[in-house]
């Protein structure tokens, strides 16, 4: 008989190992799925995980990993601080959208002026836009005790309506023949978040993501506020005795994660995406939740997890095109990753015992 036995302490080894085991399990289960679809599983797994990094065209895909991973990491870092404190911001997608709208809007107000001040202004506006959108659930929670999960999630759909509205109205390209969507910021030097080194994929959003990783690490491990965040999540009563003000913590965590999501949106709209359009958001805010947990809410873990998620997206598209795999199979594959991670998490807190329990 197999039974689970609670560990006295969470196992540090399993805590580190579960993401790796989860990736391996995903590869095996995914390989079976691909085999069932009549594709060579080894080739499929190689296409997804190996080709973007070391294949023939890796010179193009490696920079794309940065482009795809940066917004995920930037958003996930912000979310992880809140998740650690037990503050659940599920609405990063909305904050991402509002950051992009505010950032692009602040820039486009000065079109076609060329000035070095425009881009910094857009960065500021983008961060503030995301911050303000996250402050709605934060203030409602601290003033009226509403549930931040519901409020932040619902505000995603409100933000999507805003996005559609500005794409069709306020920010619509006057030279766009009546089609929705803003001017393309890529063709306006002052507002373009261009690659810092051509061909490297390294734009300001990537830089911001790396700074955020270091900042989050220092905050959580070397700073009183970081200690309070961890304490509130792990032992809320103890935190109150230690003098932590829960309201201030909610405002800080939601505000910071909103600002980072807003920055991610702003860097995306001014760089890789280029324009505000109705379908501007592609789910980074939701995927970042997976990234945060895949990275164990740890700053450097998130960096790796963001890279891994980006890899499955890019490799997944290659597998679709080269091997004719349906996109649904790729999505199932990505879903497996989270599923196995959560399932294997059990091993951190429990150990498997085989045999009859000893009679006391």
């Amino acid at each position: 008989m197999i039974r689970l036995e609670r560990r006295p302490q969470p196992s540090p080894i399993w805590s580190m190992a579960t993401p790796l085991v989860a990736v391996l399990a995903t590869m095996i289960a995914g390989g079976l799925l691909f085999a069932a679809l009549g594709k060579n599983p080894v080739e499929a797994i190689r296409t997804i995980f190996w080709d973007p990094l070391f294949g023939e065209f890796a010179f193009y895909y490696r920079p794309q990993l940065l482009v795809k991973g940066a917004p995920l990491v930037l958003i996930a870092i912000g979310l992880s601080l809140g998740f650690r404190a037990g503050v659940w911001n599920i609405g990063a997608e909305g904050q991402y959208i509002m950051g992009a709208i505010c950032g692009a809007g602040a820039g486009l107000a000065f079109y076609p002026t060329e000035s070095v001040l425009i881009f910094p202004l857009m960065v500021l506006a983008g961060g503030l836009g995301g911050w303000a959108w996250a402050m709605i659930p934060a203030v409602l929670k601290t003033r009226f005790g509403t549930n931040e999960i519901l409020v932040s999630l619902m505000l995603v759909y409100v933000a999507e309506q805003f996005l559609a509205s500005v794409s069709l109205g306020l920010l619509k390209n006057p030279e766009g023949f009546g089609f929705p969507g803003s001017r393309n910021l890529q063709s306006w030097d002052s507002a373009h978040n261009a690659e810092l080194i051509a061909g490297s994929g390294l734009h300001w959003g990537v830089v911001a993501a790396l700074i955020a990783v270091i900042f989050a690490y220092v905050l959580l491990n070397r700073h009183m506020l970081g200690y309070h965040i961890r304490l509130s999540g792990e032992a809320p009563r103890a935190a109150r005795f230690a003098g932590v003000n829960p309201n201030r913590l909610v405002l800080f965590c939601l505000g910071l994660s909103g600002a980072l999501a807003g920055l991610a949106g702003m860097f995306e709209v001014s760089g890789p995406s280029g324009q505000i359009s109705i379908d501007f958001n592609v789910g980074y805010g939701f995927t970042a939740i997976i990234v945060a947990f895949l990275g164990r809410l740890h700053a450097f873990g998130i960096l790796l997890a963001g890279g891994l998620m980006a890899l499955t997206y890019i490799g997944g598209d290659i597998a679709q095109s080269n091997m004719g795999l349906p996109s649904a199979a790729i999505q199932v594959f990505q879903g497996m990753l989270l599923f196995f991670l959560l399932a294997l998490d059990l091993l951190t807190n429990f150990r498997i015992r085989i045999g009859q329990p000893e009679v006391a």
Partner: protein, 358 residues
């Protein structure tokens, strides 16, 4: 080294490589889809076009596709990937792929690109679209006579010129046969979301609509109409014949196959050049699906006559006198709309209620 140079040299190297392997000499054609190939509508029909290319050229052609590609940087990456892997011709089948297509085309001057429904062209980028509004005229003609509540529900996707053109065309031709007809328009802000589309259809039916027209791609509104009972619908982009003979009484079918075959042939022959194609019923890019027996014979006959007059060019779907919604004159009696105005149409015609969302 600059990415552009790198990519170009890679493309050139590939071009040389394929040239060296002249024995194989396959033309590689890529397709980028915004939805799943099983949507039963827009993307499904583009994929039918791809299959027609395979059927036509057999071993001489290799096709690849990626579905569910988000508009923006993801689309750009997928196109770049196809070009790197040696595609000679790439069809990008959604309006939002416009700027990405132009960006990638700049990096791969030897690869030909075809962008559906856009307006930006380059030396290696053509655009193509279909005059769906001609099909809408036939729909409006049938719908206006079939409705008993005089309320026609219309599920719009996004308020872009193509969709507004369709609403205007359907309304004008419904009004022509039924002066009391009224249009209720719901904007779904999606091309493909079965749940949202079904909700939109239900709302319209509850508001008294007994005809549902849709400019979204799934079959969910058809199912909702079927469940509601005495409501008729029209297939969109694809025939959706499985919902016939009722609720689906007819359909607009996008037939991309002849165009895709012709353009692939042009690449093979080395005769491909930039063009802007906007074909309708006459050229066979827009087809009217079988009008079912649920439609009385005389309505069917007059609908087919209208279709024939659109096909041979003797009648234009936008023929004056037509006023704009605000009452100002648009087309004088006998005057027909020019393509430029149609392409950027951002106003309702007189008689439609409500505002175009902004």
């Amino acid at each position: 080294m600059k990415l552009n140079t790198l990519l170009t040299s890679a493309a050139v190297a590939l071009g040389l490589a394929t040239g060296a392997l002249a024995a194989e000499d396959k033309t590689k054609v890529g397709f980028v889809y915004v939805g799943p190939v099983g949507d039963g509508g827009w993307t499904y029909e583009h994929d039918q076009g791809r299959k027609a290319v395979v059927a036509e050229f057999g071993d001489k052609v290799e096709t690849v596709y990626v579905e569910n590609v988000a508009e923006g940087p993801d689309a750009e990456r997928v196109m770049t990937q196809m070009a790197l892997e040696g595609a000679d011709l790439i069809f990008t089948t959604s309006f939002g792929y416009m700027d990405p297509t132009i960006n990638v085309a700049k990096k791969f001057p030897n690869v030909k690109f075809e962008h559906a429904t856009g307006y930006k062209r380059a030396d290696n980028v053509s655009t193509y679209s279909a005059r769906f509004y001609e099909g809408r005229a036939v729909q409006g003609h049938i719908a206006g006579q079939m409705t008993e509540s005089n309320i026609i529900g219309y599920i719009g996707s996004y308020p872009i010129p193509e969709v507004i053109r369709g609403i205007n065309s359907a309304y004008l031709h419904a009004k022509e046969v039924n002066p009391d007809v009224e249009f209720k328009i719901v904007w779904a802000f999606t091309w493909f979301d079965p749940a949202k589309e079904a909700d939109a259809a239900k709302v319209l039916i509850e508001q008294g609509a007994d005809v549902i027209l849709q400019h979204t791609d799934s079959t969910a509104p058809q199912a909702a109409a079927q469940a509601a009972g005495d409501v008729i619908t029209f297939g969109q982009a694809s025939d959706m014949a499985e919902y016939g003979p009722k609720p689906r009484v007819s359909s607009i079918i996008d037939d991309w196959a002849p165009y895709y075959i012709a353009r692939t042939q042009a690449v093979m022959d080395g005769t491909w050049s930039t063009s802007d194609t906007w074909n309708g019923i006459g050229a066979g890019m827009v087809k009217i699906g079988e009008i079912s027996d649920a439609v009385p014979a005389e309505i069917k006959a007059s609908a087919l006559a209208l279709k024939a007059s659109l096909a041979d060019g003797s009648y234009h779907a936008f023929t004056g006198p037509i006023k704009k919604q605000d009452g100002s004159d648009w087309l004088a009696a006998g005057e027909t709309a020019d393509d430029g105005t149609l392409a950027g149409m951002n106003f309702y015609v007189e008689g439609l209620d409500g505002d175009i969302p902004q």
